[in-house]
Assembly symmetry: C2
Homo-oligomer: 325 residues x 2
DNA sequence: AACGTGAATGTTAACGCTAACATTGCGTAC
DNA sequence: GTACGCAATGTTAGCGTTAACATTCACGTT
């Protein structure tokens, strides 16, 4: 910076002013400084700036299962939005989702002096661990249940489940079976709730949901069991991956979809339209989730303290062959 | 730090020594300082440290299409390995892959004073843009072709393509058709090369590859065209997503797989085993790619300058129903 | 007893930047 | 013509850490 100042015959402070768009600099001076910066290839030292301003311009993201379509897309939205807001994103992905591992991740991010944190760790237990953060550091929880004093962004799981269940009933099914995700996942429970509510309202039989792990193989197993029953008319599977496994099991068992059984999933992964048959599903706008998370977080950072805020991202029912006769 | 020093009645420098595991500190003193740090909840200021050491402990990653299974998994491997090596990872994901956007990303990362960069941007053109980096900053290119003076990690695409093509021939096909990825992708070309070579060696007819975009819909279109021909015995599709689309097209056209046509893909996404029929494919160890990238990068960072290094990650043929009679 | 030696600790000065206050100089009012 | 105000720029200090050099002190050597 001193070099640039010398080059234009001004003080380093004026150079700093140009860099920070301070208004009290003559336009002509500003230009001269800009040119000198360019000529000398000067780059501001972010560590020095962070030291004196006490702002790292960094946001931390704790994520779990980041190779799945959903979290990966959310991460993508976060990164884009953070950049637009002038922040850099530091990722910390977990291999296991426990109180200890989340705490360790929080610790690592704190060490980096992040100004705020987004947690994509949709286990019900996460909320508790994070409540320690409330009042300390701005944070947003994605699909992690409500944490008093923090931001929360979630997809309207229940509405999606309701819509897809109603759709299956409308297609003539007497009732709808449900292959749920793991019980300790917030998203899984939201979907169970919506599904059950519609069945109750419609006076349809409510069978106990089958539990899967989100993986295709668990969907496959659920599919085998449902195929064996022989009295199933419609199945709402809690995500597209499991729905794929279920379709496979049905196919092997000679159960035709949608001929014998109607099937619907959740997520709308890019592959869903090309399953056999193309899968009816609920589209989640993961990128929007990422964007909204950053909005909520940046608001807190600007306020200089955590704030309780909530955002719900709407869903969209996508009807395809697997659920239409 | 001064507070800690005061607490134990020592100088701040001794505290610094404890923090940096300097040997010349009495074990007893070390313990006292550790305790005071704990008691006071002191956290070192990374900006101050970065300022004086001129080391940010940060590595940058430029990625493209990070919502796809491959890049997302690679990213995951990178993040894990970087953490183990004591580095923090800053992600910059691109929405478009052009010389300008890559340069902009490099610029943003440079501003963050990253100590090295990994580029997951598998277009042939990337190499040129990055060659400007050679000699400047340690960098590793993933699947981006060789860049003189930089590290490069790639999956052995050609070997994978050779193996899968030979497998299809072994199953009795007179020749193998190929649905390739976009021509400007390094991976796509590697697969074309391996495929063609095996056909040549076997004296089989080499048909012009059909070009897709990696997406299921492009695979679907290719599938329709191949189904129309009626003389196709086997197809090697350049990735699993396109293979899914192709399977769908075949299904609609009444072409049975593997009865009428043998099909194989590439990647081994988690869904592949549950396609209809389960898909023969080539497994890529994306996590290993991430790990190796960090190894190569850390080596350069330790050396204090870019080094030309190459790592090739092996592949594995996974035979499933789609290619076996 | 004086002296060197080396382990353990202390002191000082940067690192590159911004905040806060200080100075300059020019136009305007009286 | 002096005083004032305000825009534009300059000067100084300090953010929290580590590097480099300085000091102290215990101990063994001669």
């Amino acid at each position: 910076m001193a070099d640039v100042a010398r080059e234009v015959g001004l003080s380093h402070q004026t150079v700093s002013r140009v860099l920070n768009d301070h208004p009290l600099v003559r336009p002509e001076t500003r230009e001269r400084v800009r040119k000198a910066i360019e000529d000398l290839g000067y780059r501001p030292n972010s560590a020095a700036r962070a030291l004196v301003t006490r702002r790292s311009q960094t946001l931390g993201v704790i994520t779990f299962n980041s190779t799945l379509y959903g979290p990966a897309s959310t991460l993508f939205g976060i990164e884009q939005a953070a950049r637009d807001a002038g922040f850099v994103v530091s990722i910390d992905s977990l291999t296991a989702l426990t109180a200890t591992s989340v705490r360790a991740a929080l610790d690592r991010l704190a060490k980096q002096a992040v100004e705020g944190i987004i947690v994509i760790a949709p286990l019900s237990g996460t909320a508790e661990v994070l409540s320690a953060l409330a009042g300390q550091l701005p944070a947003v929880v994605v699909e992690g249940g409500a944490v008093p004093g923090l931001g929360a962004v979630s997809v309207d799981q229940e509405a999606g489940a309701r819509r897809v269940t109603r759709h299956l009933l409308d297609q003539g099914a007497a009732t709808v079976w449900h292959v749920a995700g793991p019980g300790d996942w917030v998203e899984a429970e939201g979907r169970v709730l919506g599904w059950r509510r519609v069945l109750r309202e419609a006076g349809a039989a409510v069978h106990r949901p089958l539990r899967g792990t989100w993986s295709p193989s668990s969907g496959y197993q659920a599919g085998r069991r449902l195929a064996d029953r022989g009295d199933v008319e419609a199945v709402f599977v809690a995500n597209d991956q499991m729905a794929l496994g279920l379709l496979r099991a049905f196919h092997e068992a000679g159960v035709r979809v949608p001929g014998d059984v109607l099937v619907a999933g959740f997520d709308d992964v890019p592959e869903a339209a090309y399953f056999t048959p193309p899968l009816t599903t609920v589209r989640q706008d993961f990128t929007a989730v990422g964007r909204r998370s950053i909005e909520l977080l940046v608001e807190q950072v600007a306020a200089g303290r955590p704030l309780e805020r909530r955002a719900v991202v709407p869903v969209e029912l996508v009807v395809r062959q697997s659920s239409t006769r």
